[in-house]
């Protein structure tokens, strides 16, 4: 029984069957990649995990509980954090403030009226945030406004924010999209490090095969809303069905 169990999920947008009978099981403490050509339904599937979309059919269970019908913040409080394709951070705030928000959310829940408390005297929150920034090599940028950081650093900050909530499942939506080679390699190293050091399950959607094969323990190939194959990376590379989906019949 995996930590994330997807059963018979289907989703239709008008005349387009975006997802069809998707079954997927992500085992605890593994890195599971979902790959597939453009329009295969990867992002739609991810949106069904986090409460942005509700599938027409099927079920999505996280740790034995259904996530369907819950709002994104409730699902996050259950232990699922999401990293977006373009880094979603609080651009107007400083790096340290960015870091403090998820730490506060982890401690205080979805809402707490703490209007009279002084933020800078919240020692435990500050310490935890600074330690996380230190861990991720962002310590000297703590006072910087988040919007003025490089793309790579923004991604790093976003991952740090997600990790600080100690999620059980980390969802990554094309974390290296639009990145330069060096930044991509940095991100791969970072994710490898996270995988080794923490008890965390990672589900990743990715285009870049280099990233997928460096990280994934297991790969699901999606095409036209249906999973084609699910297997170990070494078996996926030469799989005829995968080649067909990616390169067309001629290959």
């Amino acid at each position: 029984m995996g930590i994330l169990e997807v059963k018979n999920v289907g989703k239709r947008f008008g005349g387009l069957q975006a997802l069809n009978e998707v079954n997927l099981s992500v085992a605890e403490n593994t890195c599971h990649a979902i790959i597939g050509p453009n329009g295969a339904g990867k992002s739609t599937l991810l949106n069904c995990f986090v409460g942005k979309l509700i599938p027409d059919t099927g079920s999505v269970m996280f740790d034995g509980q259904s996530v369907l019908g819950r709002t994104p913040y409730e699902i996050n409080q259950m232990g699922i954090s999401r990293v977006f394709q373009t880094p979603e951070i609080f651009s107007d705030l400083s790096v340290l403030e960015n870091m403090m928000i998820p730490v506060l959310a982890k401690r205080d829940g979805a809402f707490r009226m703490h209007a009279y408390a002084d933020m800078m005297s919240e020692k435990d929150i500050l310490e935890k945030s600074e330690a996380m920034l230190e861990d991720m090599g962002l310590a000297e940028k703590r006072g910087m406004q988040a919007s003025s950081m490089s793309r790579g650093d923004k991604r790093r900050l976003e991952i740090a924010m997600c990790l600080s909530q100690e999620p059980r499942l980390l969802l990554l939506d094309e974390p290296t999209a639009g990145m330069a080679r060096a930044d991509t390699n940095n991100t791969i190293d970072l994710l490898k490090q996270i995988k080794e050091e923490r008890d965390i399950t990672i589900a990743i959607i990715e285009h870049d095969m280099h990233v997928v094969f460096s990280l994934a323990d297991r790969i699901t190939v999606l095409a036209q809303g249906t999973p084609l194959v699910e297997d170990h990376p070494e078996n996926i590379k030469g799989h005829p069905k995968v080649r067909e989906a990616y390169l067309g019949e001629a290959a």
């Binding site: 913040y73 609080f90 403090m100 928000i101 809402f111 707490r112 209007a115 933020m119």
Partner: protein, 397 residues
Amino acid sequence: MLGLTKKDYNLLLIVACLTMLAPFILNPFPEGSGLAQFNAGYPDLMQRFVIFGIFAIGFNILFGLTGYLSFGHAAFLGVGSYAAIWMMKLLTTNVIPAMILAVAIAGAFALLVGYVSLRRSGIYFSILTLAFAQMSYALAYSVLTPITGGETGLQLKLDDARILDGALGAGEQARANLFGLNMSSSYELSVGSWLFTFNTGYYIAAVIMLLAFYLAIRIFRSPFGLMLRAVKSNQQRLNYTGLNPRPYTLAAFVISGMYAGLAGGLMVAMDTQVGPERMFWTASGEVVLMTILGGAGTLIGPVLGAGLIKYMENILSKINSDILHTWFAFLPDGLEDFIITLIYPFIGKGWHLTLGIIFMLVVIFLPGGLVEGGQRIAKLFKRKDDAEDTAASTPAE
């Protein structure tokens, strides 16, 4: 000190000094001199400075922090005013219970309006709040006449119930007071040809503004304030960080509604009458102007903006063509008339034109408002100092 950082504490001190010394600061010109009409140190106007300061501080907690632009905040001000005057009519003319009721009722009304309006964001939110405010205005003006006094509004009357107060003596009038201290009593200090007025009502309003300002600093610096800024910055990320933006924005809306109610209650405490025009949409627009002009999202900005607009409204609008003629009397006749024709549209009733131009200039060149202007000037001086320092130290090496 007081749980504030040194910088915030200093800011609070500066504001405290300015408000406490306002009768001096606002009256720099001797009585009878040609410039005396620029004096703003009379009780009525000083009271308005601090009351609208409170209104703008509260508005800024919503607009400056969360970015939700309410176009109906005057409704809460009006509701606060009506609540306060009813308290004075029915229970006691002491201002404390009146203001407590004003804040409570305005808060409850804000909860209702906010609960509905915050289902939308951006322009739709603004329109919803505007609709609520105009509805309140129309109701107060017509249907609710038994409660609001309709077009004529409400005043204190001799035959009001005033359950807690003793009977009035012959010839006495019911007056707003603080445990017997009359709001309109003043002490006048004459130094040479200068006249300084210290008004009870002003000082009570000023102390309340300082408390309101202190509370705003605490909110700005709290985890709650951080969450409100996060709402403005990126709601998507906030949602995916396990936080529910709705109660945060609603709490901010109610708090700022309560500030508006407090301002409305204070207005009644200073001048015991209310009319529905207080809730008209232009009054809602004015507080938006104040906040943006001073600097939205800054602590001191809204207070500055409120001061500037109220100063222009009361001082600039009093200049008429006769006064202009006395100013420019030294010029040859033709030139005098020409210059007066040029200036005339910007003064008197035309003060709105001046305000509009200043507002445009600020929005275009100083998007951070007057506060940004101040910061730029401060930076300029700092750079000059640094340049001199390095110039002075280079030859020594």
